[in-house]
Subunit: 155 residues, 3 copies
């Protein structure tokens, strides 16, 4: 069928949104690494206290939670609770052959909501602002999933 | 090819099961929010103690773990450990063109096992009951994955 | 289209890599169960202290963190941060119709990097060795995602 190729503009839209979200989530791992290196702490495994080229002066305090690292871990966990489900819901949404404008609105709207959520969380804005951006993304995800569910049930 | 459309009954079965599981997992986020609002606690980020319209009377105790909230977080974490892998394993299982009765049995059986696991965990049934429902789902997931692996290796 | 069937060698390669990674991640759940049974501890839910056939002699210490169990949980969490994104990135990578040798290199290279990461983490090798294997996998994931993103943008 023709829907499931990058020549289908809806599929290409999904692929772009999905790749951006994958890079975003994987970026949280790298940001955690960067902050652990800056802070020389926030580690989690006992063996990380061994003297190595990357950790020449080990100290038991390095295993204590470090808020700058924990902040990224909380953002990362929020990604894990949301993005994998978006990735599959978006793929199935493509199969329902939605109009291109709707695919743009929902898929890029989701990406935008997650980037704003990240910016609000990283800079410690109020819970209310962070929750607003999260809610926009979550509602988009639910709409796409319900749309696909209804289409599949009726097919 | 014809397998990868919602006109294929096996694919439609997968899409329905996948949408239900996505809604289930996303529902855990909303249930966490609901319980955090009921308990006015179980928050995690230091900035959540700022006075805002959603939190008019902040109190440092709001950052302490709250068992009613933590219960949903444990259920959610269990979803994250299982459902994303089901979503991809199920999709690949469709590509092997299994008989429809088998797709029904495995895909809807998985959904049922996860809903029962949720009910048992939410109401704090014994570990043994919860573990039984989890095991059913995990074994289904392993069967689908092995089936797909063997089919792909032999293809 | 012909890309999205197991008759396409690139798709079959992806399916094999994906199934191996799903089994790996699900295996962490079973390894956690096995270690919880060996240690008779490392439990997390208050109701797990009830006397049941699987836990005939409950003890409050069973809810304390147990390092042998926590090690598997950390490995599992690392899987959750990586493998779901690999599963979707790999699927979209197939849609770009890459040369078979490149698909082999990236997809099986990723699987190998994760298995080595697991071996290093399980046996508590230095952070530097574990980080090296993680980095190889994460870079492969980023390459596949960027490749797909560029292909989708140009399509």
């Amino acid at each position: 069928m023709d829907d499931f190729t990058l020549q289908n503009p809806v599929m290409a839209t999904y692929a772009i949104a999905a790749c951006l979200m994958i890079l975003k989530a994987v970026g949280m791992s790298w940001l955690t690494v960067q902050r652990m290196m800056q802070e020389k702490g926030g580690y989690r495994a006992p063996e990380d206290l061994r003297r190595t080229p990357l950790n020449p002066d080990p100290d038991p305090k390095q295993l204590a939670p470090n808020e700058r690292v924990e902040r990224i871990r909380r953002i990362h966990q929020n990604d894990l609770e949301n993005i994998p489900f978006f990735l599959v819901a978006g793929l199935l949404f493509v199969l329902t052959a939605p109009p291109l404008w709707l695919a743009w609105l929902l898929l890029y709207g989701y990406v935008l909501s997650r980037l704003l959520h990240f910016a609000a969380y990283l800079t410690a804005q109020t819970h209310d602002m962070r929750a607003t951006f999260w809610t926009v993304g979550s509602v988009i995800l639910i709409i796409m999933t319900l749309w696909t569910l209804v289409t599949a049930v009726l097919s």
